[in-house]
């Protein structure tokens, strides 16, 4: 399976080819399901002028937040960017562009990008600031806006297990944006908790077929919890 063996040994190999000014689609919701080691590698590489497409931008010292600290990010396309003081500072100082996108529209833009659909209509955002400059069209008596899809030079995602061909399964709500992000990168790099032999993942349980995946690296994850909330005894 030489041609299908996508496992790489180092983070350098995993992110090789990423250069200044590229667009990176990142999986994860808050700090849940983020490719921690790949983000750290981008910090190490000092790549700059990056556009990130990601639902959130981490916190000050974890997740994509660490790339903000290093001023590597030029633009964020996100649905929610709170919980991050450096973000706020850069944004207010005009150092960071932000394109706020409704969460469902963002997920669909990634999916559409991966699926060869350049644009779709949605009612989400009609009549709001999100609709500014976008085409409006009526279907069955309701108004919809045209949203264009998103692709990137790279996608960085996290999965639970990968077989060596890049077939993936996710773990619980760490799935979130990862399957769509996986489809939307020209080069898709996945960081996983476990690499298994081909055949261990059954055809019907695979959530992202290997065709979308270019490189696999085994990571080790801190899995920081943003809001630990416990049952009252």
């Amino acid at each position: 399976m030489a041609g299908f063996d996508k496992v790489v040994d180092t983070y350098e190999q995993a992110m090789s080819g990423l250069t200044d000014g590229m667009t990176v689609i990142a999986g994860g919701f808050g700090l849940c399901g983020i490719p921690e080691g790949l983000i750290a590698q981008i910090k190490t590489m000092k790549t700059s002028g990056l556009t990130f497409v990601s639902n959130n931008c981490g916190v000050d010292d974890f997740g994509l937040g660490i790339l903000l600290q290093e001023k590597q990010i030029k633009k964020m396309i996100s649905s929610y960017v709170g919980e991050n003081a450096e973000f706020e500072r850069q944004y207010l100082a005009g150092e960071l562009e932000v394109e706020l996108t409704p969460q469902g529209t963002l997920a669909e833009k990634m999916r559409a990008g991966g699926a060869g659909i350049p644009a779709f209509y949605t009612a989400t955002g009609y009549g709001t600031p999100v609709a500014e400059g976008k085409e409006v069209k009526e279907f069955n008596g309701r108004q919809y806006i045209l949203e264009e899809s998103i692709t990137g030079e790279f996608a960085i995602i996290r999965a639970w297990k990968a077989d060596k061909m890049g077939n993936l399964v996710y773990r619980d709500t760490a799935m979130n944006f990862n399957p769509m992000a996986a489809t939307a990168g020209k080069t898709t790099v996945v960081e996983v908790e476990e690499i298994v032999e081909v055949g261990e993942l059954k055809p019907m349980e695979i959530q992202t077929p290997g065709i979308y995946v270019d490189r696999i690296i085994k990571g080790s994850f801190e899995k920081r919890i943003e809001r630990l909330t416990l049952a009252k005894n």
């Binding site: 009609y126 009549g127 999100v130 760490a174 799935m175 399957p179 769509m180 049952a231």
Partner: protein, 219 residues
């Protein structure tokens, strides 16, 4: 007496029906889960990809990979399913959720809602709110009737940037339950001990008041 946050949640819980799939926003809406009638079952949808959200975990079963849309650690109930964000919003945008409850800064008599952005303050983003208000057939907004300075939040026309247009059907505040129809708020119920006059006074938008306005019942 105006309602407490918990009482608002309790009143909203009366909108639930057995077998409903429900999305509860952050804040007061989250509290609604505590008041689901015991003879009733509902499934809670969390837009990060969980249908069948359960209670918060005990210390023993906390899992960083199990969170809700508010990024809190949660559990899943028996019968839950977990899926991608695209699938989650397909569900929401496609109108498959039976009831959505969320907060707002302002609602107006045309069913418009402003809930995510106050110009001049930092914009944190709309998260899933725009998708939720555009997708749901049945939305209840919970909020205080007026702000801290006494300014009405039920307006003729929202003053803040909108989250969605012509989408809100019902509002439950600390003072009243209202439906929105034909360009007006319609007063349905008042909080126990709250006068119709106070509600009229604190409602800036067009308000239709029927002859008899029952008090909310919490038995």
């Amino acid at each position: 007496m105006s309602l407490s946050r918990d009482q608002i949640a309790k009143r909203v819980a009366q909108e639930l029906q057995d077998g409903f799939y429900v999305n509860l926003g952050i804040g007061i809406p989250t509290l609604v889960a505590n008041y689901v009638p015991t003879d009733m079952e509902v499934m809670l949808q969390s837009e990060n990809g969980l249908l069948g959200m359960g209670p918060y975990p005990t210390e023993d079963n906390v899992d960083a990979d199990m969170i809700n849309a508010g990024k809190e650690t949660v559990t899943a109930v028996t019968g839950a399913s977990i899926f991608s964000s695209a699938e989650s919003f397909a569900m929401i945008r496609g109108g498959h959720v039976d009831l959505t409850v969320l907060g707002a800064f302002e609602v107006d008599q045309n069913g418009n809602i402003a809930s995510y952005m106050i110009p001049g303050k930092l914009v944190k983003g709309m998260g899933g709110a725009m998708d939720l208000v555009a997708g749901a057939q049945n939305i209840v907004v919970t909020m205080t009737h007026a702000d801290k300075r006494g300014n009405s939040k039920l307006l003729a026309s929202c003053s803040l940037p909108l989250t969605g247009v012509d989408c809100i059907n019902k509002v439950v505040t600390d003072l009243a339950v209202m439906k929105i129809e034909n360009g007006a708020f319609h007063l349905l119920e008042r909080a126990p001990g709250v006068s119709v006059e106070e509600i009229i006074e604190k409602t800036a938008g067009k308000l239709i008041v029927p002859e008899f306005v029952p008090e909310m019942s919490f038995e």
